[in-house]
Amino acid sequence: MTFELILVLAAGLFCIGLFGALSQQSIVMIMMGIELMIGGIIVAAACFWHFLAPDAPSGQVIVVAAVVAMAVEMAMGFAVTTAIYRARQVDMTDMAECLKG
C-alpha cells in the first residue's frame, strides 16, 4: 500500500506542477511548475526503484537524468527570459506570442 500511496503523492506533485505550468502567465512561474512536475517524476522513480527493482540501477539513473533535466530547464529558461526581456521588456508568455521580434 505504501508503494501506491507514494505514487499518488508523486502524481499529486506532478499535477500541481501541471496546473501551474498551464495557468501561469509569467515565464518564471511556468518554470516553477515544470520544476514541480520533475520533482514528482523523481519521487516516482525512486519509489519504483525501491519497491519494484532495487537490484537494477536504471531506476537511479532515471533520477539522475531528471535532476539534470531540472538544471538544464532552469538555465535555458532564464537565459531565454533574459534575452526576451532585454529585447522587448516582456516576461509574460501572452506578450511573447509573436516571436518574430
Binding site: 533574459t82 526581456y85 532585454r86 521588456q89
Partner: protein
C-alpha cells in the same frame, strides 16, 4: 533587587555606541573613538546594532531631523547623549551607560504617561544635553506606549521589492502620513532613517514605467519604483538612496544622493552642505593653517603632526570601508598617539610595521586597483592640490601616497621653523580661504561615482576623504574678512 535590573546592568557592561558626528565635531569624534577603543565599547554601524547614540559635535539644526530618525530606530533599552566638544565625551558616555543600566525602574508603562515620555524616545526631561534635547520629540506627536510600538503603523509599506537582480529597491517612503500615526511608539514604523544612508528612497516614483496598474491602489498609497535604462540592458528599477550625512565611516555632514540600479550607481549628486549656521564649527584638521593664516606663530612640526594624523584618520576610514578592521584600529591608535603628542621616535617603528603591512598588501591593492581613476592632470585641472593630485591614479595609488606622506611627516615632527600656510600643504591640499581643498575633492565625486558599484563608490569617497568642515571654516573666514 529584581532580576531585570541585574540583567540590565550586565547588558550595559559593554554598550554598543552609534556615533553620529555632526559637522565641526571632528575633535569630539576623535576623542570618542579613542575612549571607545580603550574601553572596548564597539562602534555600531547602524541604529539596529546600537544601545547608545552619541551625538558628537556642536548642535546642528539642519541635521536634527536626521539625528532624530536615528534615535527612533534604536531598539530599547537605549540612551541618547550629546557631546558638543571633546571634553564632553567621557561624561556623556558615562551618562549613557548609567541610563542603560538603570532603566529597570524607568521601564515605561502605558498607564504612566509621565514616565512614558521619559523612558521612551521623545525629548523630555530625560535628555539633559544642552541643546540637542528638545528636538527629539518632533514629528511623532502621538507617542502612546513607548515600547510596545506600532504594529499598526506601517504606513510606509515599502512597496518596491520589485526588484532587480542585485539590490531590489526597498523604498522606505516617508509617506506624507508617515509621522502622525496614532501610537507610533518608538517610531519604528517610521521608515527611512535617511540620516543613516541607504534606507530611504524617494523622489521620482510617480509613473512607474509600465508595470503595475496606473489606477490600481498601491500598497500603502505609494507608487512603484521607476525603471530606467541601465548598464546591462535589463531596465532595472531605480532606487534613490542618500548616502550620508551621518553614515558610519563617511565624511560627517556630506550627503551624496545616488540613484542605484542593482548596486551600480547610475547618478550621483552632491547635496549642498545643509548647515546654515556655522558658528562654533572648527575645522580640526586645518586648525594650524587657519591659525597661521590669522597671524599666530605655528611651527612646522605641529602642522606635520596634524597632517600625519589626518592622513592616518583617512586611512583608518578607508581600511574600515575596505573591510580590514584589524589594520583600521592600528591606524586609529597611531593617530591618537600622534595627537597625544607622542614623540616621533616612539611612533616610527609601529608606523613602519603598519605601512609595510598595508602598503605592501597585495590583496588590498588587488581590491582597490582601477577604482576611481584620477590622473594628476585631471586632478590639477579640477583644482585638487593635495595627496590625491600627487598620487595621480586609482585608490591604490592614493592610499600609498598617504602612507608615504605620513612617513615623511613623522620624520619632521620636531621641525621648529614657522608654518607658511601658502606653501606648506594642509592635509588635503594647499589651504586657501576662498577655495578650500576639500571643495575640489567634493566636486570630483559625481563623475567618479557614476558607474561605480556601491562598494567601489564607498572606496572612492574614502580614498579622497573630503572634509566638509573645511567648507564651513572657509566660509567663516571669508565672511570675517569681508
Amino acid at each position: 533587587m529584581d532580576v531585570t535590573g541585574l540583567v540590565l546592568r550586565a547588558a550595559a557592561a559593554r554598550p554598543h555606541v552609534l556615533l553620529a558626528t555632526l559637522p565641526g565635531g571632528t575633535a569630539a569624534r576623535l576623542e570618542a573613538e579613542r575612549v571607545l577603543r580603550l574601553r572596548d565599547w564597539p562602534l555600531a554601524a547602524t541604529p539596529a546594532q546600537a544601545d547608545v547614540l552619541l551625538v558628537a559635535g556642536p548642535d546642528c539644526p539642519d541635521l536634527r531631523a536626521a539625528v532624530n530618525r536615528l534615535w527612533q530606530d534604536l531598539p530599547a533599552p537605549r540612551a541618547l547623549v550629546h557631546a558638543p566638544g571633546a571634553g564632553g565625551v567621557e561624561p556623556a558616555l558615562e551618562t549613557g551607560q548609567a541610563r542603560l543600566g538603570s532603566r529597570a525602574d524607568q521601564r515605561p508603562r502605558a498607564e504612566e504617561p509621565g514616565r512614558t515620555t521619559r523612558g521612551g524616545d521623545a525629548g523630555g526631561p530625560h535628555h539633559q544635553e544642552p541643546r540637542g534635547g528638545e528636538d527629539h520629540g518632533e514629528g511623532h506627536a502621538g507617542n502612546g506606549g513607548s515600547h510596545d510600538d506600532g504594529d499598526g503603523d506601517h504606513h510606509h509599506a515599502a512597496e518596491a521589492r520589485h526588484g532587480d537582480s542585485q539590490a531590489g529597491p526597498q523604498d522606505h517612503h516617508d509617506g506624507p502620513e508617515g509621522h502622525d500615526g496614532g501610537n507610533g511608539g518608538t517610531g519604528r514604523g517610521h521608515a527611512g532613517h535617511e540620516g543613516h544612508g541607504g534606507h530611504e528612497g524617494h523622489g521620482g516614483h510617480e509613473g512607474h514605467g509600465g508595470h503595475g496598474g496606473g489606477g490600481m491602489e498601491m500598497p500603502g498609497g505609494l507608487p512603484m519604483a521607476d525603471q530606467g535604462e541601465d548598464r546591462d540592458g535589463l531596465t532595472l528599477d531605480q532606487l534613490h538612496v542618500p548616502l550620508g550625512p551621518l553614515l558610519a565611516d563617511w565624511p560627517a555632514g556630506l550627503t551624496v544622493r545616488v540613484t542605484l540600479q542593482g548596486d551600480v550607481v547610475r547618478e550621483a549628486e552632491v547635496e549642498e552642505p545643509p548647515w546654515s549656521d556655522i558658528t562654533g564649527r572648527e575645522a580640526f584638521w586645518v586648525q594650524p593653517w587657519l591659525r597661521a593664516a590669522a597671524g599666530e606663530p605655528v611651527g612646522v612640526g605641529e602642522a606635520a603632526r596634524r597632517r600625519a594624523a589626518a592622513h592616518l584618520d583617512s586611512l583608518a576610514r578607508l581600511l574600515s570601508v575596505a573591510g580590514w578592521p584589524a589594520e583600521a584600529i592600528v591606524a586609529k591608535r597611531l593617530r591618537d598617539d600622534l595627537l597625544d603628542g607622542a614623540p616621533g621616535a616612539s611612533v616610527a617603528p609601529r608606523l613602519e610595521r603598519f605601512a609595510r603591512r598595508v602598503g605592501r598588501s597585495r590583496t588590498l591593492a588587488w581590491m582597490t586597483r582601477g577604482i576611481g581613476q584620477v590622473s594628476t592632470e585631471e586632478a590639477r585641472e579640477a583644482g585638487v592640490s593635495g595627496p590625491a593630485a600627487r598620487a595621480g591614479g586609482d585608490v591604490t595609488d592614493r592610499y600609498r601616497q598617504w602612507l608615504a606622506d605620513i612617513r615623511r611627516d613623522v620624520g619632521r615632527l620636531e621641525g621648529p621653523s614657522p608654518l607658511r600656510p601658502a606653501v606648506d600643504e594642509s592635509p588635503r591640499g594647499c589651504w586657501r580661504d576662498d577655495d578650500p581643498p576639500s571643495a575640489a575633492l567634493i566636486a570630483l565625486l559625481p563623475n567618479l561615482l557614476t558607474g561605480a558599484e556601491l562598494a567601489a563608490a564607498r572606496l572612492i569617497v574614502a580614498s579622497l576623504d573630503p572634509d566638509p568642515d573645511e567648507l564651513a571654516a572657509a566660509r567663516g573666514t571669508v565672511g570675517a574678512h569681508d
